[in-house]
Symmetry: none
Subunit: 232 residues, 4 copies
């Protein structure tokens, strides 16, 4: 009886063995996705590659999609960790362009590492509007960014930070994914990063004010407003 959706939450692995089994399943899924394509990622095949039986999968995941959910979660965590790293205190002194470059570069590495996975995650995202999951990720990133902006005083051109974050996120994500899947001629990796960085800089940062402030020796008090965002 396939595809019956039940919400009985599966056991959270509480033992070491469980943890490694879950990881094996997730890794197997990614491997299958990368090497054999989305069509091959059946529960049976995943179990095979993971070295367990189908039954075992259902010990840890309530249904097939839960595997993908977990994978998405994992990718979110990685992206978040990346952002946290890029926006960490140690980088407060970097220029906005440097910071953005680091972020885009980092994200690109995430995508390059497993394009097949991201392809499927994107498909799943389209298939089932799991807004909440994405939402929470968004919120965390935005919080991170806001914090960083406040700390560095980077002058932001956008009024509506939420909208800007959404737009920026979609642009980066879509462009990377598409370039990875289509690999269009004349769009080498560096070009891609350069274009995206430039796009983000011009879209997000008020470069005029940035230079002024730089010249000014950072005279402005960046933390004086919760978020220094304005258009003009």
């Amino acid at each position: 009886m396939p595809r019956r959706k039940r919400s009985s939450p599966r056991k959270q692995p509480q033992q070491a063995r469980g943890k490694s089994t879950v990881r094996a399943i997730l890794d197997a899924t990614v491997q299958v996705l990368e090497r054999e394509g989305p069509g091959a990622a059946t529960t049976t095949r995943i179990a095979e590659v993971a070295g367990v039986s189908v039954g075992t999968i259902y010990q840890y995941f309530s249904h097939r999609d839960a595997i993908l959910d977990a994978l998405q979660e994992r990718e979110f965590e990685r992206a978040l960790a990346l952002m946290q790293n890029v926006l960490s205190v140690g980088n407060l002194s970097k220029s906005p362009r440097e910071t953005i470059t680091a972020a885009v570069q980092g994200l690109r590495e995430l995508y390059v590492a497993s394009p097949g996975l991201h392809r499927v995650l994107a498909m799943e995202g389209l298939r089932s509007n799991k807004a909440d999951r994405l939402q929470s990720f968004d919120l965390r990133v935005i919080a991170l960014v806001r914090h960083f902006l406040a700390a560095t005083g980077t002058p932001i051109r956008r009024k509506n930070i939420d909208a800007a974050a959404f737009v920026a996120f979609q642009c980066v994500r879509a462009t990377m994914l598409a370039s990875l899947l289509e690999s269009p001629a004349g769009l080498e990796d560096e070009t891609l990063v350069d274009e995206l960085v430039d796009l983000l800089m011009r879209y997000l940062v008020d470069e005029k004010r940035l230079e002024a402030e730089k010249a000014n020796g950072h005279a402005k008090k960046p933390a004086s407003r919760k978020v220094s965002a304005s258009v003009e």
Copy 2:
């Protein structure tokens, strides 16, 4: 015992009846997609809604996906027609921002008209790398844009026009689709268009030079270079 797969190219409707049947099938598909979601778009359901039998579908489409291909083609045509209209001679005098706004606005209407369809088209695009189809669409749009740019002399900031077109296309497409499907709070329709227009303007157009030229009374000879693209 039907088993063998033969990819007989399907009949092009030669009678008036056939034409309308094809349209009925396509429309039914869109309708199902919009009202019942991607999962409901089975050949049986489509036939049902179209008021024909399954067999009839296969008179005109070699396999289920061919319906989606046709639908994509149709949307491409519409988008192309839109662009052609926006970039038509009558609009040569419009400002770049006005032109871009018109384009984005128009595309948005296309997406709003059938978000479910575009969702599925996006999914299909991810599933099967049909680069060629997209490619030909891209090329035609780019040709259109190049022509327009050359005619109006809009100063373009990007060096690599192909890359820029690719990035711009992905940004607009992804953002629209996502905003339609997720309808995130605080991102109303006008906001979306505004953000995208601004993004495109800043990414594509050399606004400094644009203003200079405007002040200059268009002294520059725009057609003097094949494509007036430069960064700075």
Copy 3:
């Protein structure tokens, strides 16, 4: 939406249950073939009769025809076992006519046991030129026969043993099948066997020399030539 064709090699039953399931499927197929005719042998009906679900069939057979292939293999094995028995060492002293009679008689029993099956196997043989499968069977039988001939010193009239084996095989097979399916008046079972035996004797064996040798007290050294075949 199952669509993609993947020819995953099916599992070899590793548990006792699997073995008996495979047998159940094969037996059910034969039963359906015999009782309901070739047209009734759909996967669904076979599963029904076998007391399993369709899915189970596909655990062990990659596609419908694979069932028939397996059945053919099984019949080949049986025929081979029969021949091995007939041509065994214990029968070296039997006269050629006795040996041929035993072979034909035995084959007839195989056909009589499931004429419907052999009908379908013949049809399949015509439909898809699976030369290799037949070839390997042929070769094994021919090897068997050559060996026996060499051991008994039966004088063979044919020069071209391969051609003769082919012709003989086709004659026996076709005649039996046709007589079973058409059951023509005046061709009772014994008549059929008699006719075939006589046909084979006269076609294959050099009876003149046979008698001479018999009179001679088997003075000839039969194994002196690899195969004592000659015309005249």
Copy 4:
């Protein structure tokens, strides 16, 4: 509504146009069978190749299988004409071996001309036990043969002429078909004919008596018994 079997006998073409249409359909069927294989011989494809519409086929044939029936009839007629020719009065003086060779040779030409057709006819023969059709053909051939034998006085070894005719027919048919479809190495066309002729001669003709009679100057009165058949 496929495969509904009705027995409304279609119109016999009474006009010239009808005749040629029927021929076109039959020829198209053979052509498709030969060039595209049994699987391609759908009514639609046949109509296409014949240059008519499907509807037209049903004007002359009550159902698909009727086309094959007609084709079988046509082949039967050809075979019969061949036999009639071979066994004609002009050939009374030929030796039995010459006559048989001519017959086998002629049949082979029939098979070689359209092996694909004969393959399908054989399959159909297996599928639907249309004993009567075959029967009437058999009877006519046998009558022909009996007549010839009586006229020439060829001494026949078989007691049961009907059984012998059946066996001989099956042997020739099966061997030819199989050799055509499998084209086994080492069985060239002449070999095949030689083997079959020898097989038939030894199976059917009493060669000892034949030579005796020849030496005797045909002293025996061949017509003295209705059929001069005996086993020794």
